[in-house]
Amino acid sequence: MFEYATAAVEGALAAGAAYADARVVVSKQESIDVQNQAVQSLDRTEQAGVGVRALIGSSWGFFATADLSRRAASAAGERAAAIARASAVVPGDPMQFADVDVIQETYETPYVEDPFTVPMSEKVGLLVGVTKTMQEVKGIAIATGSLTFFDTNKWFVSSQGHRIHQHLIESGGGFDATALGDRESQRRSYPQSFGQYETGGYEAIRTWDYAGNAGRIAEEAAALLTADEMEERETDLILEGSQLALQIHESVGHAIELDRILGWEAAFAGTSHLQLPKLGTFQFGSELMNVTADATLPGALGTFGYDDEGTRAQRVDIVKDGIWVGVLSGRDSAAIAGLPPGGMVRGDGYNRLPMVRMTNVGLLPGDSSLDEIVADTKDGVYMATNRSWSIDDKRLNFQFGTEIAWEVKNGKLGRMLKNPTYTGIGPVFWGSLDRLAGGDEWIHWGTPNCGKGQPMQVAHTGHSAAPGRFKDVRVGVRG
């Protein structure tokens, strides 16, 4: 496949590109969805093609084709250069591009069990079984489960001499139970909303003991119908790990994307409240807040060998002892900001322009535990599993809803509460972090549905987190 990527790069250079790179991507995906013991869909998708980007002046030109032939690849390179050249109608300053090591290597996701060779009967049987268990709980109207597996091969070539082959395997899934009341629906999910996804094989599914958790999840969903509504107030908030992971994703991960900070995403995804002159001094959170972007974490969903610019995967400090110290960057954005490129540029499939994406943006663990945090809380709430998320275009104001909550009184979990929400302003919220769990409660949560860019791209990102406590948070906001 390198020959097609090479032809695309050569086509772009011959058409006048100052720099060009190309990716041939061949991928397959298998998705299984079961509802109430019946298979709703079983879908297999395969995709193959080459995408080439060409830099001329101030703009990237990008062209993609599913026609994998030398002729088509070369023509794609020429088209990419022509598109870049047309950008000169509305020009900017010449795009800068940071140097990186020229790499010619291969990388493969470590995995134990190829998910595509696990018998279909076993995979379907697992989901039919957990939905049956959930349906047996009184009050459960809808029980669903899903599994999705990804197998992606990428061949990357650049005009600087990069030549990289990567084979990535990702596996994930989960299930949920929905109970319906007169004018409400209540849902519980496991391992988290939208499922838990990891790099690796089918072992990533077996780890989570679906069968052993289905009954509990369903009983909680049913119990929510008669639970008390969460009242609006300010109180101490303890977040379960997967909800804290999404909090990191939305209010830290997107805010530190350098393309947003530079204004490149202003019209759609938005900008950031973070400004580069404050890098190294801005107080993002309390001293317990230590965030890294680490694309080398074994098993985490945002782990790979090299990004889609050929930069080696790396670990970068983002927040250290509460101070903002790092960004997510690529070769172009890093050069403009005068920073080293972070190896965080990825494209969705062969047909999307690579752009700055989160890798594994996670909160390093503390030394406490959920039990200790609860025991140390006189009055508060414990919220678990995301149900809704909304945040403004500067990544400041957020409102999250979770599936379930419990009140915390005098160091013990009390009443179950339904329709929990909390809201706040990013740095104020993170500044109130005063207890943080760690140990085996620190988990590499995966987010398989991060949307960004135009045309829209979906990225798979990881967010390590353990439960944590935040002081004086506004909870229970409803319309």
Binding site: D33, A38, V39, S41, L42, D43, R44, T45, E46, Q47, A48, S59, W60, G61, F62, F63, A64, T65, A66, R79, A82, I83, A84, A86, S87, V89, V90, P91, G92, A141, T178, R183, S185, G263, W264, E265, A267, F268, G270, L353, R387, S388, S390, D392, D393, K394, L396, N397, Q399, G401, N419, T421, T423, I425, V428, Q454, P455, V477, R478, G479
Partner: protein, 443 residues
């Protein structure tokens, strides 16, 4: 014979009599010229073709998609789908294939848009950018052309072509942003200068915003805000799967909305985009969802229609097995009042240009949270007096449109942007009695 017709025919031949089968084959192009900080920074295009296949082997169903469409690979693609299906349990709700029926003779196509050049998109971007003075512009100009063929082993066939063109962007001062948006079947209809001037004016007018108190406010919602109401109601409510599962607010035949509220779906309207059949080959026709405030119907695909005991109405979408059938050519009936007249009727209220990052809290109550963005203004004594900072809302969309709550409808209905994307809603400015703002966006 077109390339996509050839592909569909090839695949049905490969399936033969081994299964019931339906195929969608499409070819086309998508190009998007993106600008930020007032220059074009990302400029992309793709050509491609794709095939979707669904097979049912004695009621055992599987689907497959591929972009690898060489003659030597299609046989393996088809065999793989059949093998996968044969391993499945029987789907007791399998509705069978669409039978031959006539598809409306509607084609929303403009040849110049199908073949639009990067220079043509860049020229529109230039007009948008040049409409500002001392501001930073950001946004995109997109063109798309697609040809699709549906065929199934029951003999139903349909083909359609579609194009679309969009200019969308903002102008930014140091303290504010204003938005503009236009979409059409034809790139020649796009006037980057006009759209850019609206965005620029909104940015300038909102350059010195103040914080206003949260709470219930009368509102004027511009079309790009109303579009989000329409698609949320459709996605979570007027959805045959959500209704069958008991998750929808919809109560058919009941006055659930203000009697001024008319909501329908109609790809045959000349103002719409798209093709006149769905991915199961069912023809699309006008579907009245709400008439005079009374909920009339919901969207169905073949499976949800079978369960409900009604006819499918052509609203299957990719992924409908999970989230259900969705109408994607939504219209809200407009009024005869200019936007200026609507504003003149407000003693004290808020004008909202767009919403941002809206998320449902509960589909049964249609409570949604989100924020205002790119131009939010205070209205006092019938005129816009000041800009206000962006605000968060938490509001039931059904309650907001309830009886007596629609105070006016604009005469400016157009293809609007919306939370789920552009080109799927054609809606006017709306004047609503109240909207629940729950906080400022920045604290």
């Amino acid at each position: 014979m077109s390339r996509e017709s050839h592909l569909a025919e090839q695949i049905l031949d490969l399936v033969g009599d081994r299964a019931e089968a339906e195929v969608v084959a499409s070819t086309g192009n998508l190009a998007l010229t993106r600008f930020a900080n007032s220059f074009i920074h990302q400029n992309v295009a793709e050509d491609g073709e794709a095939v979707s296949l669904r097979v049912a082997v004695d009621g055992r169903v599987a689907s497959a998609k591929t972009t690898v469409t060489g003659a030597d690979t299609l046989a393996a693609f088809v065999d793989g789908a059949l093998e996968t299906a044969s391993m499945q349990p029987v789907d007791e709700d399998w509705p069978g294939l669409a039978q031959p029926s006539r598809v409306p003779a509607v084609e929303h196509v403009d040849e110049a848009t199908y073949d639009a050049s990067p220079e043509a998109r860049a020229a529109i971007v230039k007009d948008f950018v040049d409409a500002g003075r001392g501001t930073l512009a950001a946004g995109y100009c997109q063109t798309e052309g697609r040809s699709s063929v549906f065929a199934n082993s029951a003999g139903q066939t349909a083909s359609g072509r579609q194009t679309s063109a969009i200019i969308d962007g903002i102008h930014q001062t140091g303290t504010s942003a204003g938005t503009g948006h236009a979409a059409s079947v034809a790139i020649g209809d796009l006037d980057g200068g006009t759209v850019g001037r609206l965005a620029f004016q909104r940015a300038i007018d909102s350059a010195t915003p103040f914080d206003t108190k949260p709470g219930e406010h009368e509102v004027i919602l511009a079309p790009d805000a109303v579009g989000t109401l329409a698609i949320f109601l459709a996605f979570y409510g007027f959805n045959g799967k959500m209704l069958e599962e008991g998750q929808s607010f919809v109560d058919l035949g009941t006055q659930q909305f203000d009697d001024r509220f008319q909501l329908w779906d109609d790809v045959t309207d000349p103002r719409a985009l798209g093709i006149p059949f769905d991915s199961e080959g069912t023809p699309k026709r006008r579907l009245d969802l709400v008439a005079d405030g009374i909920t009339r119907s919901v969207a169905y695909n073949r499976k949800t229609a079978k369960k409900a005991g009604v006819e499918p109405n052509g609203n299957n979408v990719p992924g409908a097995e999970g989230w259900g059938p969705i109408p994607t050519n939504l219209f809200i009936g407009g009024g005869d009042r200019s936007v200026g007249d609507l504003i003149a009727g407000v003693e004290r209220g808020i004008y909202v240009s767009t919403f941002n990052y809206c998320r449902i809290l509960d589909p049964k109550t249609m409570v949604v949270t989100g924020l205002t963005r790119n131009g939010t203004f205070m209205i006092e004594n019938g005129r816009i007096t000041d800009a206000v900072t962006n605000m968060r809302f938490t509001q039931s969309f059904v309650d907001a449109l309830g009886s007596g709550r629609i105070l006016g409808l604009g005469d400016d209905a157009r293809l609007a942007d919306a939370e789920f994307g552009p080109g799927i809603t054609f809606v006017p400015t709306m004047h609503l009695a109240s909207w629940n703002f729950t906080g400022g966006a920045e604290g």
